[in-house]
Amino acid sequence: MILIPILALAVGIILGSLVGAPVTGVAGVYLAVACLAGIDSICGGLRSYLENKYHADVFVTGFLSNIAIAFFLAWLGDRIGANLFLASVIVFGGRIFVNLSLIRRYALAKWTESRLKRKNQQEAETQARAQTTTP
């Protein structure tokens, strides 16, 4: 199950490299910012899934609109002479860090919880066994 997204990522990378030709002109410059927005959205989706707040529609629209907005901001920044793409880099970069740290916490919490549970279970079992063996 967890392999499917990883496979999809690999397929995407292969498709991209099959296209082969580098993107010319300004679009090539903004592509990097769009990538950053995409990474942020993926992390956000993972986090909301771990928080049980995941909605597929929110995730998909967020992903697409984030990429579009990042692209647009970078373009607008070049037009009006303010480095607006820095805004995307800072916001998305910061959010990636926050999301990843939250994901780490949830994963850690889950892990410790399951370990505790297993420990309790084992103790319960040993107690039960002790009770059954002692007449």
Binding site: V29, I42, Y54, V60
Partner: protein
């Protein structure tokens, strides 16, 4: 969850690898250029096809014009001849006809083995050096000048693009052979004037410049575009006397 995530990751992978390749291509292509030149190149593509098409169209229209002129010359020989003569004169002045005559040949070379006491900047022939030689040649009475087979005309530009320089938008590099038509002795005298560009170059290394007179030189005609897109000729105004 899994399917939406997979779809988005596919898009992200695609975008990411495209961005990766774009950046790699840009670095490969422009890392040896000046930063400002690299910036200009990565923000736009140079479309040579368009100028080629424009040039081809111009050739066609010029050929049609030529045919028209020739028939008019045949039909009306008296006026036609006069017109033809003044046209030829104008063409010679504009550099649109090949010319021949006496003159001088100046060859500018980069220093091949610079010694430690030379400044590297000074050992290379720059666009500015060529421009200054051409200016001094005009000033000394040259009637026509060509640089590595490129005729110098009113719109000729000299500029430096990376490791080569462009004259009439054609890339040239050392050795730069400048041919100038005119009175050989006058030109040689003018170019050898102390304090000029020739003596300046010779100060760096005498090998950078060779100057020689020639009895007969042949210069090609200008082969670039002569089309005007926005300006047009107006009839000469009668001048007011002050």
């Amino acid at each position: 969850m899994v399917w939406a995530m997979s779809g988005m990751l596919l898009v992200l992978g695609f975008l990411g690898s495209l961005a990766w390749m774009t950046q790699k291509a840009r670095v490969d292509r422009t890392s040896r250029l000046d930063p400002d030149q690299a910036g200009r190149i990565s923000f736009g593509t140079i479309d040579t096809m368009e100028s080629l098409l424009r040039a081809q169209q111009e050739v066609q229209s010029l050929r049609a014009q030529l045919a028209k002129l020739q028939t008019s010359v045949a039909e009306n020989s008296g006026q036609g001849q006069l017109l033809n003569q003044s046209l030829k004169e104008a063409q010679r002045f504009a550099g649109l006809t090949p010319v021949e005559g006496p003159g001088i040949v100046i060859t500018l070379r980069d220093v091949q083995n610079p010694t430690a006491d030379m400044m590297i900047e000074a050992t290379i022939i720059h666009d500015v050096d060529v421009l200054r030689v051409v200016n001094e040649l005009w000033n000394s009475g040259a009637e026509a000048i060509s640089i590595n087979g490129q005729r110098v005309v009113a719109t000729t530009g000299f500029r430096c693009v990376g490791p080569v320089m462009r004259v009439n938008d054609v890339p040239i590099a050392s050795p730069v052979i400048i041919k100038a038509l005119g009175d050989t002795d006058t030109l040689l005298g003018g170019m050898n004037l102390p304090g000029g560009i020739i003596s300046e170059l010779k100060e760096t290394s005498p090998k950078m410049v060779t100057l020689e007179g020639a009895k007969k030189l042949e210069l090609p005609s200008y082969s670039g575009s002569t089309k005007a897109s926005v300006s047009k000729s107006t009839p000469p105004k009668t001048q007011e006397t002050p």
